[in-house]
């Protein structure tokens, strides 16, 4: 009884767990239940039940409602599909002037908008692509094919790779200094001589279109949200869902709305890249000291002047960090968009992985990683760069970067011209090294992989078998054995104990959505894989983080490593694991663990670092030893921040599990992948994406609420 009074929360939690397990044991598995058959697979089967809603037929396997809830939301994907179809093909037909046939044609409004949007995007992408690589589509867009036949010299020649490389190095030098300039130059040379120039420039042109557009929209919406509470309230739920939605899931509706190709990918990339920009804009504007705003007002600024002369320049750093985020999101989308036919490095990577050509995949992956690091470092350097005063410099000093670039431009062209004489008859290596005509180490890597397989096959296989049979399968079975009601009680109970009534309500709504969708079982599988990954990631991350924290240098080094690994698009992680473990669940899980360990480690170090110096000194003067200091002072204070790390770990793990579908899993991700090749997939893909997002949001809500309370309690909010 005394304990009950002392630790009421503990007993409440115990009680919740007892109820949960009691429910699990009380509710038996129905005899007809079989996982793979699932509940609503849209195949006709006489054993299925049927209901109609809004004129849509939903078929499903009925079970006891305590075991699995009926998919009352089963009509949602079908309904989304039909609505999209209706909007695109039937809604608001209007007369539009057709340039080619010189007559009016009737077309639905949305279809026309989508067509115009896509052709505009295509034009932009082609324009930048042709500046970098050469071509004639842009000229044709303004004139005609006949015109280009008459004047063939008008074709854009494209920039020699030497000029682009020099440009990248000079820009890096201006932003950061010699180190980054060297890195930029070497990266470009590597890309070029390994024959990845063309796909790299295609990817780059994709980013050069998507990132500025995302920046403009994000900044605009961010400003609107800063100025109007109503806009912010309207945007907030969308921002929240987009943060936990796997990037991959938004590709599916894009397919329906905008078709296949770069243009569709650019538009959908903006949908993903705009939210972080909005968030950082709001954050940056909010962080401006109120006195600076007042100073602007007292100087007699109009609203317009206040925004563009005072607020935005003052929030410069946060806004540029937003740009960094936008660029990184655009880059990872550029890679993933290969699934809907975007050209570039991602496409090559996907192709290589599909052919199981690990060597080629590794080369493309390395290219992707290098470019990712370069883009990240450059945009961060831009954000951190402080304005300097140039007034007292000479003309040469002020413009030396421009002069250097002009010089390298001329030299590059001369080199390319000279190249035409050196490499007569073959490829002009000083102009552009064609794809697959550079140096390739693919064979070496392939042989290496073969050697690893031949040599260690027995061990890898034994490990695989053990992991799958003795760990993964039982764990999966346990998750699937949970009756829906028990899971709901656990989730809602946890919500209530952590955040009270409000949290319980939010969690209940999110969980119910998943439970009432046709994919509850798949969600459980996703959850089991994510849980497995998260637990191990956290164990590794917390340990490594704590160990590295003991020494300032190792902590800084580890954070640097985390920075670098975080810039890689998640897809890249699949390459080495496929190389070592082949196509199994083990591969996916290992990729999940590697990826999700990054935030776990980072937040552990950051959390421990944030413990105030004064407390350290106070502890030292009380005569604690290192271990006592860690357990009594640092951990309790750093714990809330480490829990935020857990939150990130969960999101990262979910993302990776979903992408793991590419290797072959049985979870929600697999269905998203299927939806990509299904012409009626838009509704399914979107609903699945929301399901994944909601799993993330359930944990997000619980953890954030807890952290908020805990930080308030500790007085470090």
């Amino acid at each position: 009884m005394e304990y009950l009074k002392k630790y009421p929360k503990l007993f409440q939690w115990l009680f919740l767990l007892i109820v949960f397990f009691a429910l699990c044991f009380a509710i038996d598995v129905p005899e007809t239940y079989k996982f793979i058959r699932g509940q609503a697979e849209f195949v006709k089967d006489p054993n299925q039940s049927v209901y109609f809603f809004l004129g849509k037929e939903v078929r499903y396997y009925a079970f006891d409602v305590f075991w699995r809830l009926p998919p009352l939301l089963g009509w949602l994907p079908i309904w989304i599909n039909d609505s999209l179809f209706f909007l695109m093909n039937e809604w608001m037909p209007m007369e539009f002037w057709n340039e080619d046939t010189q007559e009016f044609k009737t077309r639905p409004l949305l279809l026309e908008i989508s067509r115009n949007l896509t052709s505009f995007m295509t034009f932009l992408i082609e324009l930048i692509r042709e500046i970098l690589l050469g071509g004639l589509e842009t000229i044709v867009a303004f004139t005609s094919w006949d015109f280009i036949d008459a004047y063939p010299w008008l074709e854009l020649p494209g920039l020699p790779w030497t000029i682009v490389a020099a440009g990248a190095a000079i820009l890096s030098y201006k932003l950061s200094g010699k180190g980054l300039a060297l890195f930029a130059g070497l990266t470009m040379i590597y890309i070029s001589i390994f024959g990845q120039w063309k796909p790299s420039m295609q990817t780059l042109s994709f980013i050069l279109v998507a990132a500025p557009l995302s920046f403009i929209f994000g900044l605009g919406l961010g400003i609107a949200a800063y100025k109007s509470k109503r806009v912010e309230k309207a945007l907030y739920p969308i921002l929240l869902v987009m943060q936990t939605m796997p990037q991959y899931a938004v590709l599916v509706p894009a397919l329906v709305l905008f078709g296949v190709g770069d243009h569709a990918a650019v538009i959908i990339t903006m949908v993903v890249a705009v939210p972080p920009m909005i968030l950082l804009t709001i954050l940056g504007l909010r962080a401006i000291p109120p006195e600076v705003i007042e100073a602007g007002r007292m100087s007699g600024c109009t609203n317009w002047q206040l925004m563009f002369k005072v607020l935005i320049p003052t929030a410069r750093r946060d806004i540029l960090i937003g740009v960094n985020q936008v660029i990184m999101v655009c880059f990872s989308m550029a890679v993933i968009s290969a699934f809907i036919g975007a050209k570039g490095l991602g496409f090559n990577l996907l192709l290589a992985l599909n052919q199981l050509n690990i060597g080629l995949a590794l080369e493309a992956g390395l290219c992707i990683s290098l470019i990712a690091i370069l883009l990240d470092k450059m945009s961060l350097a831009w954000a951190n760069k402080q304005t300097d005063y140039f007034g007292n410099l000479t003309f040469f000093q002020r413009n030396k970067n421009v002069i250097f670039f002009a010089a390298s431009f001329v030299i590059g062209i001369i080199l390319a011209y000279v190249g035409t004489f050196i490499f007569k008859g073959s490829f002009n290596y000083l102009f552009e090294i064609p794809h697959n005509k550079g140096i390739s180490t693919a064979d070496f890597w392939n042989k290496g992989v073969d050697w690893i397989f031949d040599t260690f096959f027995v061990y890898i296989k034994a490990f695989n078998t053990w992991l799958i049979q003795d760990v993964l399968q039982p764990m999966r079975a346990l998750y699937l054995r949970m009756p829906a009601v028990a899971t709901l009680v656990l989730a809602v109970g946890a919500g209530y104990l952590i955040g009270g009534f409000r949290s319980a309500l939010v969690v209940a709504a999110l969980t119910l959505f998943i439970a009432l969708s046709p994919w509850w079982d798949r969600a459980l599988v996703t959850l089991y894989m994510a849980t497995f990954g998260v637990v191990i990631s956290c164990l590794i991350g917390f340990t490594v983080g704590t160990l590295c924290f003991q020494n300032k240098k190792s902590a800084a080094f580890m954070l640097g490593v985390c920075d670098i690994f975080q810039t890689f698009p998640s897809f890249v992680y699949l390459i080495p694991v496929m190389m070592l473990f082949g196509i199994t669940d083990t591969s996916v899980l290992i990729a999940v663990i590697v990826y999700a360990t990054i935030p776990a480690t980072r937040y552990t170090i950051e959390g421990l670092r944030s413990v105030p110096v004064g407390l350290h000194e106070a502890a030292t003067m009380s005569g604690v030893n290192k271990f006592q200091r860690l357990t009594k002072i640092e951990f309790p204070l750093a714990f809330p921040h480490m829990m935020l790390g857990l939150n990130q770990t969960i999101v990262f793990a979910l993302f990776m599990v979903i992408i793991g579908a590419f290797i072959g899993t049985e979870d929600l991700g697999q269905y998203i992948l299927k939806a990509l090749s299904d012409k009626n997939g838009a509704g399914i893909g979107l609903t699945l994406g929301i399901c994944v997002a909601f799993i993330g949001l359930i944990f997000d809500n619980l953890i954030r609420t807890w952290v908020g309370k805990r930080k308030k309690h500790l007085g470090i909010a």
Binding site: P289, E291, V292, E294, A295, R297, M298, S299, G300, C301, T302, Q305, K309, V310, P313, T314, R316, Q386, T387, Y389, G391, N392
Partner: protein
Amino acid sequence: MSETVIKCESVYKIFGENAKKMLEESNGNVDAKTFQERGCIVGVNNASFEVAKGEMLVVMGLSGSGKSTLLRCISRLTDATGGKIFIEGQDLLELNNKELIELRRNKMGMVFQSFALLPHKTVVENIAFPLQIKGTNTEESISRAMEMVKLVGLDGRENYFPRELSGGQQQRVGIARSLAVEPDIWFLDEPFSALDPLIRKEMQDEFLRLQEKLQKTIMFITHDFDEALKLADRIAIMKDGIIEQLDTPANIVLNPATEYVRKFTEEVPREKVLIIEDVMDASSKDNLGDLKVSKDEIIENVAEKILTQEKLVGVIDSNNNIVGSIKPSKIIDTVFGGRKNGS
């Protein structure tokens, strides 16, 4: 009496929803406690006063007393909930946005506690900012800004960025910026509170020097009573949004109106604050001794001389006319007496 520049008539600022309605219902009888129970916080409670041209009114109060809120009502950075504010006879609350901007561009300057400089602009660009906002061309605004740089003694640092300056230097920039448009009215919101004591004293002296030259109409906010005494023509002491007393420094020290004000005056070294005129007896001009002192002398400077006298000491004005007298014992009484009354 010179002309009135700022005039407040029972100004109220109440934060919270329904503040306006509650204020109307209360008929001007605002009680902070009852308002707080209903979710409103009273910032300024029935403030009425006038500031004459060229006068420096210092508003003194501890944090949360509503002094900054009062200043923001008068500069209309926030809108007052009730009452009337006149700037040179113009009803401030009636101005539309455009007129308000005009007023700020030409008539008002403000200095902030945390300097509030624009981090992306150099010293001279910061100072030129209000001019450029107004539409002055670059060349003219920069040359004007350079004059201001010289005025506040930052020559040679005009191309520094705020991050490269010390606190005192940053506030010099803040002061220069607020003066760039040659405003008639100068608002200073705890301008020296974020500075070290030594720098603060230096800046106060510098500020007095500037004011002697410029003769602006000033509202100066501070939480430091000594600073208020040193700078003010008149001091308004605020507590919980109410102006407890508004008077000259000498009168506040000699005749604190409320218990709250008296607490501030207790520790004040009167001999350093008061001048002879404050304590002399203007009615008796006879039976004077040989010693004459000027009425504008600070007591501390002449106390020793007066105390060695046995007769009354004559007090003279700048034209050597006798305007009153002072008893040596009065000095002792002023410096040591009157403090323990009631405590």
